[in-house]
């Protein structure tokens, strides 16, 4: 969007960049001193969509489900069984199911906003929002582990690998601690953020670039439409990435929780 206006006015193509993700000068409205931007509204809208969907699905829950109830149960059951039960194990997975379900559908809807006409912006390409979810994940899996094993027991579980001679401990213990405790939230947040950010950037590039080429004329009459065709192809790829990132984020959460709950390995 910014690219097109700039290209039209300046006559020279300006590639989309971080600017395209900066809404701080485009506040929709203000609450007190706080500027409310589009991604913030999307965040709330996403949560509403998720809850309304599930609420409508169970509102008239019967033993023989209707169409909507079946859809809701399938969605809930997918996360519950294929992520929760299969990863955490049937013993204690049930209390984490609400968290995993919320996580998965909240991220999924907010990612899908990138492809929904009229919104077309992935909420989690705002890194701070992804940071928050990753921080929460970190608190939860560590909290669960500490509650079960005690602080020292948990640190030992996460940092001291079993089946390795103690000679290696000075090397391995800091490494394990670093990878299991420090790096996990960072990779969680960055993976989600970067995928959404890059996908959206790519889409803007191909669509605004296509327009610029068309306006440029000459070979642009061929290259412009070609760029748009690619933009459509990338849109479909993005749909896959949106689902995959939500799935991976939730799956990793389940694995971290399962690791924290594990007995001595």
């Amino acid at each position: 969007m910014f690219g097109t206006t700039m290209a039209a006015s300046g006559g020279e193509f300006v590639a989309p960049g971080p600017n395209s993700f900066d809404f701080s000068k485009q506040a929709l409205f203000h609450i007190g001193d706080t500027a409310v931007t589009k991604p913030m509204v999307q965040l709330v809208l996403g949560a509403l969509v998720v809850f309304v969907f599930f609420y409508a699905a169970f509102r008239r829950a019967t033993l023989v489900p209707g169409r909507l109830q079946f859809a809701g149960e399938s969605a809930y059951g997918m996360v519950r069984n294929s992520i929760g039960r299969d990863i955490i194990g049937s013993h204690d997975f049930i209390k984490f199911v609400p968290y995993l379900v919320t996580l998965f559908f909240f991220i999924l809807i907010n990612n899908a906003f990138a492809s929904i006409p009229g919104i077309q912006f992935p909420t989690f390409s705002r890194a701070s929002m992804a940071y928050a979810l990753a921080a929460l994940s970190w608190l939860i899996y560590n909290g669960v582990g500490i509650k079960k094993h005690g602080l020292l027991g948990y640190l030992k579980l996460q940092s001291v690998p079993s089946g390795v001679s103690p000679v290696m401990y000075p090397l391995l213990v800091p490494l394990e601690f670093f990878s299991n405790i420090l790096v996990r939230p960072v990779t969680l947040a960055l993976r989600l953020f970067a995928n959404m950010f890059a996908g959206h950037l790519l889409l803007i590039l191909f669509s605004t670039g296509g327009l610029f080429l068309l306006e440029y004329g000459g070979i642009g009459y061929v290259a412009g439409p070609l760029a748009w065709v690619l933009a459509i192809a990338i849109s479909f790829l993005e749909l896959l990435v949106q689902f995959l990132q939500a799935y991976v984020f939730t799956l990793l959460n389940a694995m971290y929780i399962s690791g924290a709950l594990a007995d001595e390995h």
Partner: protein, 193 residues
């Protein structure tokens, strides 16, 4: 709202000249909002959605298992009923065969009895006829004897020419004649018998 928009426009120039923000930068408002919204959604789903789904799942499992158990007991009941009916049918067949056999024996017995009584009746009738004939014959013999006596005396009186009016004499003559006749007749009948 008007104020808010005005505020937004007013704040713009102060930021306008800044370099574009770092996309990795931390924006506390957004992070806080993300946590709050996620927390609220988590609460709603924890409180309302998950229990309802779990309850429905549990009820469904129970309903299916209950249905299977009910069907099994119905099946067992039906099997028992069928076995009972088959047993009753076999009993009835047995009974029918027994009754038929009995009837056949009784029939044969009745026929034999009838035949026997008919035989007795016929021989009784034959016997009766015989005695009747014998009595009639006896009666005929008696009356014949009287008649023959009268005839013979009449005939003899006429032949002899002498009236045998005298009762005593007449009777004596007849008796003597009959005795003679009987004696000769007795020898002949004795030889016949």
């Amino acid at each position: 709202m008007q104020n808010l928009i005005f505020l937004a426009e007013g704040s713009e120039p102060t930021e306008g000249g800044h370099a574009p923000e770092n996309p990795l930068g931390f924006v506390p408002v957004e992070a806080a909002l993300s946590l709050v919204v996620f927390g609220l959604l988590l609460f709603l789903i924890w409180k309302f959605v998950a229990p309802r789904f779990e309850q429905t799942f549990a009820e469904r499992t129970q309903a299916i298992e209950g249905g299977i158990a009910a069907a099994e007991s119905k099946q067992a009941e039906a099997d028992a009923r069928l076995a009972e009916l088959e047993k009753q049918l076999a009993d009835a067949r047995h009974e029918a065969a027994r009754i038929r056999e009995e009837a056949r024996e009784q029939g044969a017995q009745i026929v034999a009895e009838m035949r026997e009584s008919a035989q007795a009746e016929s021989s009784r009738i034959v016997e009766h006829g015989k005695t009747q004939i014998e009595a009639e014959r006896q009666q005929a013999v008696t009356s014949l004897r009287a008649e023959v006596g009268a005839l013979a005396t009449g005939l003899a009186g006429r032949i002899v020419g002498e009236s045998l009016e005298d009762e005593a004499r007449q009777s004596r003559v007849v008796e003597r004649f009959l005795a003679d006749l009987e004696a000769s007749n007795g020898t002949t009948s004795g030889s016949v018998n």
